[in-house]
Subunit: 120 residues, 2 copies
DNA sequence: TATACTACCATGCTATACAAGGTACTATTA
DNA sequence: TAATAGTACCTTGTATAGCATGGTAGTATA
């Protein structure tokens, strides 16, 4: 709660916020080409600098599966514990299309604001 | 709490999420050219289809002012109640630059995912 | 048997968007 | 003067969801 020394906290916070909203969209993008298991998703997202912690992704996948966006099946691994492979349902495909459209619109809106197009 | 009839709730939810993260950035963009008062900000954001309700923006502006990103002054209006005009501090200008950079990176990452660039 | 690695998961905290309702000032009109 | 409408600001309560932290379990190796 020190308000003088953590002046970069707002930056970090806003960075986090920016990534947050895109998370569902990015997860669906990662799954659009086939079955992927959870740790693999985390690694891919980290490569894209989009997420770091497991505690965010596992509940998210559970929610998406509960809402019939994803399904999964367990699969034995040759080395290590079994893996939970996820893929998109038809509803998931539809949601992906919807989110892609929304992202395009959002990006366009931000571009407009960046160019200072705020006149009544 | 009905889980069968509100099957578009996840879409709405994700749309909301997408806008959420961009809010700080968009507010700073709106203020980058000078003093603006709150209702005006709300109208501009609505035009850009980025936010709808006041209950989101007022607390956000308070937070940003508390964190020395924005300052404000009261100004009489010729018609109606007085208005609270906000503008960016130097810290706010710096944050805007930071957030612009972050947004660029995020957009690039999403573009990469859209093109299916997830290979180890 | 013990250690290391991989993978999955749950709990508690905190931040925050939204819904809903409220206050106060000005102008218009009866 | 009194009532209504319009504008602008603000607060409270609720629910969502990311994150920190810690834990379980299977496999492989020393």
């Amino acid at each position: 709660m020190n308000e003088t020394s953590d002046d970069n906290s707002l930056i970090t916070q806003s960075e986090t916020q920016m990534r947050k909203g895109m998370l569902v969209y990015c997860v669906l993008l990662l799954l659009k080409d086939g079955k992927v298991y959870t740790s693999e998703i985390i690694r891919s997202l980290r490569q894209a600098q989009l997420i770091v912690v497991e505690g965010t992704l596992y509940p998210l996948l559970n929610r998406l599966a509960k809402d019939n966006v994803l399904v999964y099946e367990w699969q034995e691994s040759e080395q290590g514990p079994p893996r939970k492979y996820y893929w998109l349902t038809d509803d998931g495909q539809a949601l992906l299309i919807e989110l892609r459209s929304n992202y395009r619109k959002l990006h366009a809106s931000i571009n407009a604001l960046e160019k200072g197009a705020h006149h009544e």
